[in-house]
Amino acid sequence: MPGATLSRWTMSYFAAACLFLLIGEVMMVTGCGYPVVAIDAPETLALVHVLAIGWLSLLMVGALLQFVPVLVAAPLRGRRLALPVLLLLVTGLLLLAGGFGALAGVGVLSPAMLPLGALLLVTGFGLAAAMLAATLFAARPLPLPARFVGLGLLALVATALIGAAFALALSGTVATGPLIRLLVHGVPLHAASGLGGWLTLTAVGVSYRLLPMFMLAPEEAHGTSHFVWWVGSAALALVAARTAWLVLDASAVEEPLALAALLAAAAVILYCADVIRLFRERRRRAVELNIRASYAAFAALLLSVVLFIIPGTRAAAGEGAAALVYLFVFGWLTGLGLAQLYKIVPFLTWLECYGTVLGRAAVPRVQDLVREGRSSLWFCLYYGAVTAATGSLFAGSAPWFRAALLLQLVATVGLTAELVRARMLSSVAEPLRFPLGAPRPNLFLPISRQQE
């Protein structure tokens, strides 16, 4: 059956994710959240979750629904859950944001929205993790990229559970000692598990497969790549152990995750060495824009993590090392996300539209669905704005931060428009654009059940 491994709802996840990215950036431009208010203010928490769940996690879950079957060359288990999971996550996020709004003093909202939102999010992420884990489990022994994803799924579940505990405590639903201790001291653990464990380990795993695919580089896993997995696992285990200690032991004192951060830095340095090696060993001489933009994200990853483990720069980065977290979230995770969307959206669109007429009519290449010249300007503006925003956070200048964010928002809108153009086949020249019999893709909904 043609398209047996084409994920039906991935494009809908991507559309929702891009929408939440734009909402998050508009919130920041308008002064919602840090640095206008404190890093732990409800407004900041709402903003952070719009970006971490609405943008990054929806993007990652949508991408995994498509790529886990590719990683293990096996069909996705429980694929019917894809749409319910999307609805659970979006509804849960809106309730969570509403709960934070109530804590910020928005009268029409209620703090009870927090645990309700958390329940939906835990259910949604739990089902997503179950679908993906069942797919991985059935395909053992796993190749290295899939093992990274497995580790990321564990971190996702842990992050969601810690977050749900926070929601119970913040809303006043439950107020036991261990829960309060976790709320007071556990925020860095929640962030490390989510940004480092779930999002970064998963992105690293998928990139170990996608980079060789797109650059025609050797796919065999090197010793360094295995070492990255082991070191990343050890860092994640330390975070998990620290979380358990905090819950179980009333005498647990707050301490920085210095060892976990060092391990993470070692893993990142080895990972960056790996991606440089893949670039050098590629057989495809022409380097497409998605690859160039991805390497800018790798640079942001290396810089943010190395600067984080240096006490002086961490202290200079503001409350909660905000400048470095910003560089990590927008330079690394968001930069890589946008770069990969720039490849995946045209690729999936090509399959939907031209896959069924291949061999019967002349069709364009995937690359013909985009215009790299204009898009490269957007990526340059995006990374330039992220650099400026990071610098302004180091300098403690809120006005410059918002000015840089405005540029970042413009670049994001520009890149989103390029993705929409790719979906609409706007860049494909006639007569290749609509060959006889080729279905026309919808903007973000599946074409028909026959495409599943």
Partner: protein, 97 residues
């Protein structure tokens, strides 16, 4: 059908398959080395053994179906059978320069 005629049809099949491109690489699947074997039996029964650049790729089934459709319309072919294999796995060394 003589052996010489079968060879002619095999050549025609390879030529016809050059219209099918790998969507990502933008090159035709014959020059990429994705067609491992083409044979034609008496009676015009064509057998094509092919691979894709990546196992599990969502494009795999589309490419297989495209090859079947394409071969079917080559003069001299009465029936087309296409087999997708990953033994051996495709490598970049299989590409024609």
């Amino acid at each position: 059908m003589t052996e010489a005629l079968n060879e002619t049809v095999c050549g025609a099949i390879r030529d016809a398959l050059r219209m099918i491109i790998d969507p990502e690489l933008g090159r035709n699947i014959v020059d990429l080395g994705l067609i491992y074997d083409v044979s034609v039996e008496d009676g015009g029964i064509a057998h094509v053994t092919m691979t894709t650049t990546t196992k599990g790729c969502p494009a795999s089934e589309y490419l297989k179906e495209a090859v079947r459709n394409c071969v079917w319309y080559v003069p001299g072919v009465e029936y087309a059978e296409v087999r997708l294999t990953y033994e051996p796995a495709w490598t970049t060394e299989m590409m024609m320069n």
